[in-house]
Symmetry: C2
Subunit: 240 residues, 2 copies
DNA sequence: GAGTGGTCTAGACCACAAG
DNA sequence: TTGTGGTCTAGACCACTCA
């Protein structure tokens, strides 16, 4: 029987995932929805919601009339692009030890293009945070964050940016709901190459993204460059 | 294979999306789930499923206690990486006229790495298809497809590859269910630069992906290079 | 307090796979 | 034919927003 702390669906999802990791379903076949519902004492709808979420994660797949099965390939995925929320977690998922270095924190006035993207007037002040993420002490991600100072209600120090940026926003009353991200190829130039310890002229993948809050208002612009020799950017593409 | 009728949920989703595009919800606020259910003569559950799919697409967003609203930013997204299924559609979504050119079709024996990725023995024969996708007659995507010949049951000609590759697989009794994709930065070299009409040394984004069928068996390997000055690769990243 | 979306139930019927 | 997942219903209660 389950208790009502997290939603029943989330508990059921976690429970089933644990059963999978514990190798309870030896032949790769997961118990039927009806059985799972009876086992956990919840309705079949709740079980179906839980299984749907595991299916989206790629952990299982379903075949109508046949059953629900473990997806071994999906279980191997270390980190999925559309689910990354903190780069520390991403580095950790690749089995490196993550660490973070704040390169600089300062306030600049918004250039025209950034102001437009963030729905601001040109010249409005922006907090600019440059962060370097390291995997086993090797620099692997360089990130620039631009936050309108108008959103910042709390005083802060550099140390506040050692944590993921969504925590800083949260402390200022803004919940980061989602990013709209664009993938942009990049050539490493002198400074970038030096910071990331790669030779100049190497191609890199970068993200250019805008983060929105629950009210769909842009609250942050962020760009990040990745060393793909350390980190693999993966995603699942499904038939719509 | 087409279904006789679309599910009520899909119909409801299409109906609501049309209402949005028709500007029926002038203030950006969508009618309540109860109202929509009554209007369409279906249960609230069906409406909720339809709205959930629109929310995943980024078309709307919901706020508990407040209502459901149109997401203008989401409506602007031309094509999302995790939903692309044919490159023709992707080019079309960017308002270019798509066309396709078959560069070559031949059979080669699988090198060790490819064989491992496709669960084959080394040296097993692979059908290799090189395709070029054009936007307004400009080359924008170069794609390599590798298909184990063991899967091919029908005879074929070059013309069969003018259509998306999943249609060729379907004709051979294989349904392409999903791709596991990796994003890899690339430097344009001589031949690639010439084919895509870009200068050598330019950084590009490429996909390296493996396609699986419903039984989770790898059936195709595919790599594609994109001219990002024509095509923007976008995705939505949400808090897990 | 009224109305909204979020969760959950118990049950029904259908489409499909496999023995 | 049996059992599976896929769809859908009608109704309940809760958490939350907003006037």
């Amino acid at each position: 029987m389950l208790k009502r702390t997290l939603s029943l669906t989330e508990q059921a999802k976690a429970h089933i995932k644990q059963l999978i990791l514990d190798d309870v379903f030896v032949d790769g076949r997961i118990h039927s929805e009806t059985d799972l519902a009876a086992d956990l004492g919840v309705s079949r709808t709740t079980i179906r919601d839980a299984l749907s979420r595991l299916e989206i994660e790629g952990v299982i797949y379903r075949k109508q009339g046949a059953g629900t099965f473990i997806n071994p390939a999906g279980l191997q995925i270390k980190s999925r692009l559309d689910e990354i929320w903190s780069y520390e977690d991403m580095i950790d998922a690749h089995d490196y030890i993550p660490s973070t270095k704040i390169l600089s924190v300062n306030v600049q006035s918004a250039p025209e293009d950034l102001a437009a993207e963030l729905d601001l007037q040109p010249e409005e002040p922006l907090l600019v945070v440059r962060k370097l993420f390291l995997a086993d002490r090797q620099p692997v991600i360089l990130a620039y964050n631009y936050i309108p100072t108008a959103l910042i209600t709390q005083s802060y120090t550099e140390a506040d940016f050692m944590h993921p940026v969504f925590e800083f926003l949260w402390a200022n009353g803004q919940r980061l709901a989602y990013y709209l991200s664009e993938i942009v190829p990049l050539l490493t130039t002198g400074e970038l190459a030096e910071t990331l310890h790669v030779r100049p002229g190497l191609p890199l993948v970068s993200f250019a993204e805008i983060g929105y809050n629950d009210d769909n208002i842009p609250i942050i612009k962020s760009t990040s460059c990745f060393r793909d020799d350390f980190l693999r950017l993966r995603l699942i593409r499904r038939k719509p």
